[in-house]
Amino acid sequence: MQTDGAIGPSTLSLKDLPWQILWDKERCTLCGRCTAVCPVGAIELKVFRKRAVNVDVDFSKPGKRGGNVFGTFYGIHQRTSPAFACVGCAMCTLACPNDCIGPVAADEADKLRFHINQGGQAERRGGRRNDPGGILDRIQFTRISMLTDPALDAGRHEFELTTLLGRIYPPEKNMEMLRENGWIPPVREIYPLIIGGMSFGALSPTMWEGLQLGVTYLNEELGMPVRISTGEGGCPPRLLRSRFLRYVILQIASGYFGWDEIIHAIPEMKVDPCAIEIKYGQGAKPGDGGLLMWHKVNKLIAAIRGVPEGVSLPSPPTHQTKYSIEEAVAKMIQSMYMAWGFRVPVYPKISGTSTALSVLNNLSRNPYAAGLAIDGEDGGTGAAYNVSMNHMGHPIASCLRDCYRNLVSLGQQNEIPLFAGGGIGKSGNLAANAAALIMLGASGIQVGKIVMQAAAGCLGSETKRCNICNIGRCPKGITSQDPRLYRRLDPEDVAGRLVDMFVSFDTELRKIVAPLGRSTSLPIGMSDALGINDKDAADRLDIRYVV
């Protein structure tokens, strides 16, 4: 450091950053691909100084001998300003033809975290909670069929693993309604793994297209009734008017983005959507509204959402038009039913919270509520305040379990399906996590981040890697609205990978339920199959304690 250089409180060195770039001068050809690809401008071409000591051993010549020879060389420099700190995405490594550059995680907690709030702006980011592991990974399936009930053959036996989305009357009432031609709530038979709400806007057009393509292939070629939620961002007009809408769950949230377009499309819809999801909360930022930052609000997004270009779109935390949450739920559910002639199931989605039981009790007395989706604290997002993402919310396992046990005590466990989301498969154990939650009482599972990872190669991990979905510079083009970035993603490749993911999930799910002796129905609430090596967790979840 130069003696006259300015040192401010936020002057950081490379050591203070969470990621350090290692660059190998010997192998670098200075092609510049790494600096071009870096989404945050963390690296740049720089002229470095170098000094060589020239020792002249020829004493025969008079005059000055030897000395310093100052020169320069070109290389890659990592910037240390908080605004340009490396996010560890390693796109530089991906782009480098000579394998000479890459980020390395710091060997101690970074200092950047104390300076990221420049200008008083609290840290906002996309991604995940960055908290690896979790209770779901620790749950084992311990009730293996042996001797008395031979295990089933996951490869050869028939399996029926679909689930129901929709309000289901008690058998007696349903039969009465059937006899009297009364109204019976619409119910959809769907695949238990649902692609959760990732909006058009949060995701790039190519990513969205790829997911829709994949879902359509799964339905129409493989016979798997997979459904996808739109998230809060509306739905492209052509999709609204296509027969593929039946695979789509339209989400309405407190910003009502895109709903003008949707409402106007209703008379022209060829088919009904699968369901309507009313978002009251999400796991990534519980109690806070959605957030699409201005970077991503381009012409297309603005048109679909019905907003001006280039402005941030924070949804309010609650549905502002309603007087109270109870009325919001009841009235919105009813309005949505009316919009589609009572033919489409409508259900709320809430953040995991210790008040979930109150919501559920409310729904249990509302004959229109088609289910309840609960998004646990590990839910991911395109954009949120760091503090919301890391510290707000309720773990999904116990929240879901409490709700299911409550339905059991009411005798309504078949009437209101519960859907669980938030961090499922975050360690890669998608089928095991999903099956554990189903056996704790979930009728289905909502996933988002793992879809981005598996289907589109999202670089995010649980160790603070990348997490820049919010600013529209996703280096893989998954959450970007910049054509230069999202063209990196081929929708057909995304679709292909999505299909791979679902097909392998299906195999794994069968590999879990078959040894448990289950095949004729999804083992919802089969808690006797579960065990965990933590006594307190076992007691809390009402499952077997095993060591």
Partner: protein
């Protein structure tokens, strides 16, 4: 794997016949227990078809508790069969004070009760007695129902049968269900011993119901006091049967549609497809899983056999007009009816329910793909 035998016959048969048939099939049970249900009784009970019969095992203290309880309710003993217990107890059979089979006169104030009220009260009495005996284990009550006797005991079926003198003519019955147990529960408990009984419905099963816990939880929420106990994963079969008849008003052919519903492609082709869609959805929590052969008897003494969705268990029905036998193994059937025409033996498959109605003229095979006789 347990062994099952069920006999339905125009002329009363000794329960020992069923026990001997179980003995023929003894490879499949381990002496952990035998259960018998006798209905449509011959002998002295022929004359008292309406009198509720209490069956159970009691200690001396338990009998005193029972007597004072029943007298308080106004029940008077009408008839009883005393089982003389030999001094020497064979190995493997626990020593008991008394095996009770006792018919009662209804209390006077029950006379004007409706049928439903009467059955509800009989159930209540049985549950109360069961509860009273729980702490001291001095009263084990199997059934309290007209024209029904249940005998259950731990031990080898043949040894138990001889020990209790089940050849007794007074125990002859036209409908007999028997199970030789292969214990698959964690502990041997008499209440886990099949057949299971509730308000005239009974079932016994040869298998393992892997969907037990969600089914149990659902049944417990139906508001029926009789849906209790659940010492065995197979107990839910009788409750589902009871629920189907009493709550949903559906006939026996619908039973398979509850426990192992059709898949979508079959349902689309079914004439009652829409009804079955709704039934499957609303009764989703009653879908069984795992290998199971279910044999059951309805209050009118109709006998049936149904298999799990994959037909993972054996089961055969054979006989001739006047007498039919439902057996888990062909050798059991051969033992009881060696001279039947074996060509007419039926092994119900994954969609079938084999039914013999009380006139015992034929076995009807009801397939799930056939139309249902639905109430309009």
């Amino acid at each position: 794997m347990c062994r099952l035998i069920a006999i339905t016959s125009d002329t009363p048969v000794s329960p020992m016949a069923a026990v001997r048939a179980l003995d023929v099939m003894r490879e499949g049970h381990d002496g952990s227990g035998v259960g018998l249900m006798l209905r449509d009784l011959g002998g002295p009970f022929e004359e008292m078809k309406d009198a509720p019969i209490l069956s159970g095992i009691f200690t001396e203290a338990g009998i005193r508790k029972l007597d004072s309880f029943m007298i308080n309710l106004g029940f008077l003993t009408k008839y009883k069969i005393s089982i003389k217990i030999p001094k020497q107890t064979p190995p493997g059979i626990p020593r008991r004070d008394m095996y009770l089979i006792r018919a009662y006169e209804y209390p006077e104030d029950w006379e004007d009760l409706s049928g439903a009220e009467k059955t509800a009260r009989l159930l209540r009495v049985r549950l109360d007695l069961r509860e009273m005996g729980r702490s001291e284990n001095d009263m084990i009550v199997f059934s309290f129902w007209p024209d029904t006797i249940m005998i259950k005991e731990i031990g080898d079926p043949l040894a138990v049968g001889k020990y209790l003198g089940l050849d007794n003519e007074r125990l002859h019955a036209r409908v007999i269900m028997g199970q030789g147990r292969q214990n698959t529960n964690y502990a041997i408990d008499l209440y886990a011993c099949h057949p299971f009984f509730i308000e005239g419905y009974s079932t016994m099963t040869n298998g393992e119901n892997t969907a037990f816990v969600p089914i149990r939880e659902y049944l417990e929420g139906r508001g029926e006091p009789g849906y209790t106990g659940f010492f065995s994963d197979s107990e839910v079969f009788v409750h589902i049967l009871h629920y189907m008849h009493t709550h949903l008003g559906l006939g026996l052919p619908a039973y398979k549609h509850l426990i192992t519903p059709l898949q979508e492609s079959d349902m689309e082709a079914h004439p009652d497809g829409e009804f079955l869609y709704h039934l499957k959805r609303t009764c989703r929590k009653l879908i069984i899983d795992g290998p199971n052969c279910v044999i059951g008897v309805l209050p009118d003494n109709t006998m049936f056999m149904a298999q799990d969705r994959k037909k993972l268990r054996p089961g055969v029905v054979g006989g001739k007009p006047g007498m039919y036998v439902f057996s888990s193994e062909v050798c059991g059937l051969d033992y009881l009816l060696p001279d039947r025409n074996k060509q007419y033996d039926l092994e119900p498959m994954h969609l079938d329910t084999a039914i013999v109605v009380p006139d015992r003229r034929e076995v009807t095979l009801c397939r799930q793909t056939e139309p249902l006789d639905l109430p309009h």
